[in-house]
Amino acid sequence: MNAPEQRRLLPTDRLTYSAIAERAPLKLPDGARMVVWVIVNVEEWDATQPMPRTVLTPPAGGSPSPDVPNWAWHEYGNRVGFWRMLEVFDAFQIPGVLAINGSAIAAYRPIVDAAIKRNWEFIGHGFTQRNMQKVADERADIRKTAAAIAEATGARPRGRLGPGLTETWETPDLLIEEGYDYVCDWVLDDQPVWLKTRTRPIVNVPYTQECNDVAMMLIQHHKASEYRDRALDQFEQIYADAKDSARVMALVLHPYIMGAPHRLKYFREAIDAIRRRPDVLFWTGAQILDWFVCSNPSP
């Protein structure tokens, strides 16, 4: 029932190089120039495992387990931070995209309900927050997550983001076989692209490691205001670039990072500034997908 074994597809086998300036222009409805999509990542961190990220290292280093302080720091995002972020989505009437671990569906039901109530798009994430290269049965993990989302929301997810954007060589093949329509791990363009798989092609919707609070706050250690400043710099450039052909900008946030009291306002200020521009659409990933496929059908 699974696809036949084939040789491994390298990224360059999945798509050929293409310069953005040399493509046929993409056009959005009603003269809009660009699309912004905002992805909230809700994860469950297993207290018995090493934590995916840490804010505090133990005295004299090392990584003693269990790591309760960093577990608790992440848990804050789901107990408190998410609800603060929600106010921004409500105030500016923007659709959210929830990238959620399959296991988090049961663990954080109030978050799931709040997202359903607002008609957010649910996209698959790992079943747990662990690198896909370390997941024993990737197909089962992808399938279980889709089933958990379908059960909670009544609809199967169409998009998926790897945990930490991680993929194996096989991930795009498995995703299309398991009924997903798009992936967002490939941060290689400002426009959606088609990726070949061993069966039918799958779309990649532009996600970001640049306007992403994990990279900015936990790895690069920027001040909180840099989230706003970078988002607006990114926005102004993409807006200018999109004069003749539409582009997509992603904004990524995590409740335990941008949901901290001292950071939230910089997310709000970024959204506030972008929302004032009349020719910018706030869409979900599925809306971007449907629009793109309409003018660029599967090759």
Binding site: P59, A60, P64, P69, P110, K223, P261
Partner: protein, 298 residues
Amino acid sequence: MADHMIPRERCEFSAIVDRPPLKLPGGARLVLWSIVNYEVWDIARPMARQVIPAPTGQPLLPDVPNWSWHEYGMRVGAWRFFDLFERLGIRPTLATNARVCEDYPRVAEQAKRDGWEFMGHAYDQMPIHRHDDQAGMINKSMDILERFTGKRPVGWLGPGLTQTLDTPELLVAAGVKYIGDWVYDDEPTTIRTANGSLVTLPYTVELNDIPMMIVQHHESDYLLKRAIDQFDRLYAEGKERAKIMALAIHPYISGQPHRIKYLEAIYDYVNRFEGVLHWNGAEILDWYQSARARKAAA
């Protein structure tokens, strides 16, 4: 070792918006909980933190430069803290290694004289996982602090907030009433242990000079900026429900000459607002337990 509860088994998930708000007395909006950390870094072991790794990055012993960088905090930086809190009339929580009472009696005496709350913080500064007899270390630490101050501490903070899965049981058995290790909420919560319940108070790894200055390498003035941003948000939210803002500082970091003015400026800023209480952990615990008792009686 028997199976111990994982954090999720100690307390159900709860979204803050689904709880009835807690209210502070007199219409106050926010408690500023100041926590000073005094520690002993044993020269025979690797240092708890390093401001400068050895050339080529090798961990070498003894690590005199980083030991003395920390020692500066006890010799000099701590006295900037004592001056500040005396001037403001604030009695902060002192998370202190019990060994501070033995190695730095002058410092511990000053904190006692100034009426600071002593909070258990292990015997000396190493991850709690490395103790073969954790229960013994916890009891010894609590006993030393009780003998020194005449009162058994009610609070506990793990060194670097570290815990093993059974730490909450051991702490309750030793007489601890609240911990700061669970930074998972803006409000106090109650968690289960096999020896009875334990309160968590919202300590912080966000407004804390170790992650900010030593891990994330922010500039000195960013402590003030982040504190103002944190305060503004929590103060606004404090209109609807009581908020606790923790501020965690270490004398070898925030007690440095180039950083102390930003710490002082935080207090200048928040004291311009009505409805801000300066409470230590024991006072927050008393308020929370009274609120719970009233709720149970209702």
